[in-house]
């Protein structure tokens, strides 16, 4: 029981979120909380399944960032079959994210 975290580009996001449960982390390489959140997501990924976790570089995908109305990093958006279910801004602890994704 584990999932792989993958880095995606803005061009891939629509296809990825279209079906199933997907958690997207809009992150920046220049942000301490983003680095920490990366470790939290890795920890979460070890113990779940039935969910995709994707990382999207905020600075390299400005168009996508704007399209999804993301105003800061890190921002987590949880999608189910293409629909946004919930979003959280800032560094989050593991139990909070587990609650968000219903794990």
């Amino acid at each position: 029981m584990a999932v792989t975290i993958k880095e995606i580009s803005g061009a891939e996001i629509d296809g990825l979120i279209a079906t199933g449960k997907v958690l997207v982390d809009f992150y920046s390489k220049t942000c301490g909380p983003c680095k920490m959140l990366g470790f939290v997501l890795k920890d979460i990924a070890k113990g779940i399944d039935g969910l995709e976790i994707a990382l999207l570089d905020y600075d390299a995908n400005k168009e996508t960032v704007e399209k999804f109305g993301v105003t800061g990093y890190p921002t987590l958006i949880f999608f189910n079959d293409g629909q946004e279910v919930e979003r959280m801004k800032g560094l989050q602890q593991k139990p909070v994210i587990l609650r968000m994704i219903g794990a």
Partner: protein, 621 residues
Amino acid sequence: MTVKVKYFDHVITEQLRAEEAFLAEYRKAGYSFAKPYVKLNPYLIAPLTAIIIFQTAQPTTVAITVKGKEAAGDIKFQFAAATEHMIPVYGLYADYSNQVELVLANGEKSVVTIQTEPAPEKVKLPTKMTTTPEYFGDNMMFVGPTSPALAAAYDYRGDCRWYGTLNHAFDIKRAKNGRLLLGTQRLLMPPYHTTGIYEMGMIGKIYKEFRLPGGYHHDQFEMEDGNLLILTQDPPRGTVEDMLVLVDRKTGAILKTWDYQQVLPQNVGGSGSQDSHDWFHNNAVWYDKKTDSLTLSGRHQDAIINIDYDSGKLNWIIGDPGNWPQELVDKYFFKPVGKGDFDWQYEQHACLVCPDGDIMCFDNGHWRSKFKEKYVPAKDNFSRGVRYRIDTEKMEIEQVWQYGKERGAEFFSTYICNVEYYDEGHYMVHSGGIGTFKGETCNKPPVQFRGDDEKHVVFNSITVELKDDAVVYEMHLPANYYRAEKLKLYCAEDTLTLGRGEMLGSLGVTEEFLTIPPTEDGGMVPEKYNVKFGIEEDRILFKATFEKGQMVLLQLEGATTHSYFVPTTKRPFLAMCVGTFQESDERAVEFPVGKEGLAGEFKLSVIVDDYKYETGVTVKI
């Protein structure tokens, strides 16, 4: 390298030691009314105060006159009959040979000379003062700084007659027991949230610190029973300035909490300064007994809201309804009526309820629109004190008074400020956040300019009092001041009580981070991080210098291990209401860990990105 560790006593402990020392000094020698014991600045933080101690054989009243530089500047007070006399002296001038006259009931007189030190540069002097001693009497205008300056009080001439040396933030109010309620100088989290409220005598003695887990910001209000309404937040949930608590005056315990997230949507009606972190920016609270309700100012929704005290249910909203959902507009917003001039308030401060139910506030007017394309630049804008009459049955609002619009940009403050209601037609309007950058009126709080830009900022603060629309007082100070508060130095209820002050309430248990990243052993922490620890009675302060974006965790390792995420990415604070806590080095990080919930001996280490470093510091809790 050796990591620096400094142990700090709480100011309450330092003051107890100072008090014991001056009492011992007094008892050692034979002081008398003719030659009394005099101690300048007895409680260490109010240099223009003193205490005079002596005994008399028979109980007698003592009349004190702190002589002014001219007769109108004399400050007089009479103390009740006693044989042991501990006479607080207020209203001394800095860098001056002050004459203090004491007269007993039998007419016997003694004159004491008290020489004071020059005031530090941070005690600003007025650049303009217009009033008369007949109007202002022995009142003082107290101001608390938001730019580099100190809290101070000025008389009718503009002479400074009191100042405090602690970095007090936000409002200074007098409680019914005569003491001052003001924010502590102990930073809990950037940019200005401190541990709580001090209850302090005018002499500078701190009798109580009311500590809160979420800290204090902006405002406090004393209820009829003495309990305190204090503005706070719940930091772990990632938002600020959106909670209010009622605090027990005797114990410091939180008795009731109001959470505005349960009352308002967070993503509507935003002002030009709103972000998701500081979505409401509550900067004032007022309890109204007649309606048993709380009136709250939310700068970042351009809204003054009123909620029921018991249920917390929303009653009404004063504000421009633009960008609010129609169902909320229909239910809670007012419709302007009347033939006179009417403007909504924007990014307002210091709401209050007048005795007849009218609502007053300081309308900063920052942005002055709900729509970005209509934002008004500072140079064309205005700030003012405003009074609205509201009809909560018909949901109608009328502007019945304002002062400031006619002064235009010279009176414009993007942030802070207050109004005071003294009586019908008698008000104070304090525009304390004025600033220019390179000669242009600031479009953002002047304290937000950093680095080289700071040199091009000119601060100003204008405090005006009006009686029937005539200006009867105007003071200009070359700094920014959160609020102004007119008080007398002497107050019969503010009696000096000996003994240790109390630290009440709780800072709570600091939130630990549950995920620990993999690291390599980095040995001793490199000098470049400039790591220091300050050990306070109730907290461990971690100070260091990191580059933006570094990932940092502080660890306390003992029988149990505790890890804390230390933010290094500076949030662009859109409402830097108090800039006095800002470090000159923007990379500087200060992070407090409360001692509550910790016991034993702990080794302190730091994780920076991929490495874990030793600090060589061990603390016992």
